[in-house]
């Protein structure tokens, strides 16, 4: 089973990377870029095949390691191979 996880900054948390990307896109001539936010995308291949168990395993992983819960949120989808 594969988990596709998105980790994003909480609202209101400064995102220097997003800001820099927005500037760079502007510099490249792209117009109408209103906001850019950068997060992480993580794919985890799990041996677990039970969706409920996988779900609780991935939630725990996110909380303990993959996301910094002080400033980040996460969400994920599970996919059977």
């Amino acid at each position: 089973m594969k988990a596709r996880i998105k980790v994003t900054l909480k609202d209101g948390v400064l995102d220097p990377q997003g800001k820099a990307i927005a500037n760079a896109l502007g510099g490249l001539g792209f117009e109408g870029i209103e906001d850019v936010r950068q997060g992480k995308y993580i794919e985890v291949e799990l041996a677990e095949s039970d969706p409920d168990k996988a779900r609780s395993q991935v939630t725990k992983m996110c909380e303990e390691l993959l996301a910094n819960m002080v400033i980040e949120n996460f969400s994920f989808v599970l996919e059977t191979a």
Partner: protein, 741 residues
Amino acid sequence: MSGAAEKIVPQNPSITPELVADHGLNAEEYQRLLDILGREPSMTELGIFSVMWSEHCSYKSSKFWLKKLPTEGPHVIQGPGENAGVVDLGDGQAAIFKMESHNHPSFIEPYQGAATGVGGIMRDVFTMGARPIANMNALRFGAPDHPKSRHLVSGVVAGIGDYGNCIGVPTVGGETNFDAGYNTNILVNAMCVGLADTDKIFYSAAKGVGHPVVYVGSKTGRDGIHGATMASAEFDDDSADKRPTVQVGDPFTEKLLVEACLELMREDAIIAIQDMGAAGLTSSSVEMADKGGVGISLDLDSVPQRESAMTAYEMMLSESQERMLIVLKPDAKDKAEAIFRKWGLDFAVIGETTGTGRLIVRHRGVIEVDIPVGELADSAPEYQRPYVLTEPPALLSPEEIPAPRRLSAALLTLIGSQHLCSRRWIWEQYDHMVMADTVQRPGGDAAVVRIHGTRKGLAITTDVTPRYCLADPEMGGRQAVAETWRNLTAVGATPLAITDCLNFGNPERPEIMGQFAGAIEGIAAACRALAYPVVSGNVSLYNETNGIAIPPTPAIGGIGLIPDIAQMMTLAFKAEGEVILLIGAERGHLGQSLYLDVHFGRRDGAPPPVDLEHERATGDFVRDCIRKGAVTSVHDCSDGGLYVAIAEMALAGNIGANLTLPEHHPAHAILFGEDQGRYVVTVTAGKADTLCAEAADLNLDIRVAGHTGGHELTLDGQDPISLQALKTAHDDWLPQYMSIR
């Protein structure tokens, strides 16, 4: 003139006692606020008083004591009271430096907390016109086996590194302790040293009326609102709720800000300049106005904002990073704006200085704040809190402390412990060479950076020994100052001045206040005796959780000057067959030693006394020897004592030694005693007698402590220990500890 009468306060929630208490103001303080305003405050005004009168901004518990510190000296250009201290280096140049804590934020979010701590202290330094040339960091973590320690070490070190590395200022040294006393209150103290021309130093007094007040840097968001009050409150188990106040640093923007500010400073444009640190727009505007004796009016609609619908309260209290406030000469606006635009930074005129003496803040056409500046800034409460001095424990005599089975094995354990192992794992994550002036890298007694384009060197160190301070705050305070002075001396520098970062528990408890008072007395005594004044500093109180305080930790950052870096000294043994000399009185003092702690789990007895006259005499002698080229390596004796000092010199030079033990004390007391004011030096074989004679003439204790050579350390030819074994023990502890998940 706007007075209280024309004031309209929109949607003002009624100011309840709970709201006042939430803002950290006690009943007496709130009454003082009411007296100043002559009416109930608006929400924004309450917020402003709350941060301005917080411990962090007002120093209300510590001010009385800080006045006891000596702050003057022939080379002091600016002592405490400005953003940073300024010391004359000769040739028209000055060092500007300060140390500051970012303890609470770093415990909550180690990476960002530490990073923004570095950013904040650098702003304090370049605000005054200096280009930052070196950063230092003094770190205290909990016990290695505390479940949070590893995560905190890794986050703090990465945060400090990434911020300084990106800006391109070398992080050249620091200190690191692990101790259970910091399990739930780590300390992250960052120091920055900058270089300026003495005729181009900038201050924060906004003199003159009608001058534009300009905001530059990053946009304002809702970051860190209540950061200053958080830094002034004790932790409890709900501290997790305080998390959203964590700020995120953007070192790239800070780099732009450094360059833009320094570029503007080359023009004749600035009346006053101040970074927005704790309590952001509030404290920067109030401090500038207060020092200049003027009023200031701000229009928040012009403040560059990152988020929508921010209230006046939020904007005045935001601690968004990488922002500065500047009062410009009126005709300088266009020039200034062009510079900030060139660097891609926001630039906005958000107000002007006035003759009203009041802080007036408008937002969406409404006056949200109208407070007399002088009273806001100067009537902050000042407490002479009750205190109980710590009773120093009795001295332990060496005979009361058992010998180890094997001295060499005891050394190996000590040098491979968390206390004395190599900090390489940390400083290799810091760019300590950028700017190409680091002439002494981390790992020695003090770091040395060359003053760019000259032959002069600036030596920098930070020190304090918290276990000494806990046992006897007065002696611990002295020792901290003396150890920095010694470390500067050991690299050949003339110590100039210090900055301090006083980390303590809750000052409302008399025993904590007693620790504070004791430490101040000790620091002051040492500064006076060593002609080594305090030019800047920071106080961090309430470092305690559920009533358990940290050990008193007055971290001292010292700087010193080496006239020619050709005379710089290092601790590495240089050659085989040299004579090792120990300078300074040897008493075998084992109370509060690492030997006692690591081998017997005991922390008892008095800490080693610091005889300041002896300190000065030995130090001056050693420095003279270095300047004359009479010695080949120098290291002070500190944690772990003589045996550890010699082992460190051997490791650094990859040359062994045979040590000679005197008879007057037990061997373990000689080897592991932590007597203060001592240096180990080496001289080429023929020169030992002369040096001993010169020391004896000055009534200084000196003895031959051994000879260099071989690939082992031996004691009168006995009990050998290979350099390889020492190196493994010393190098491996930290990387191994950090590799465990």
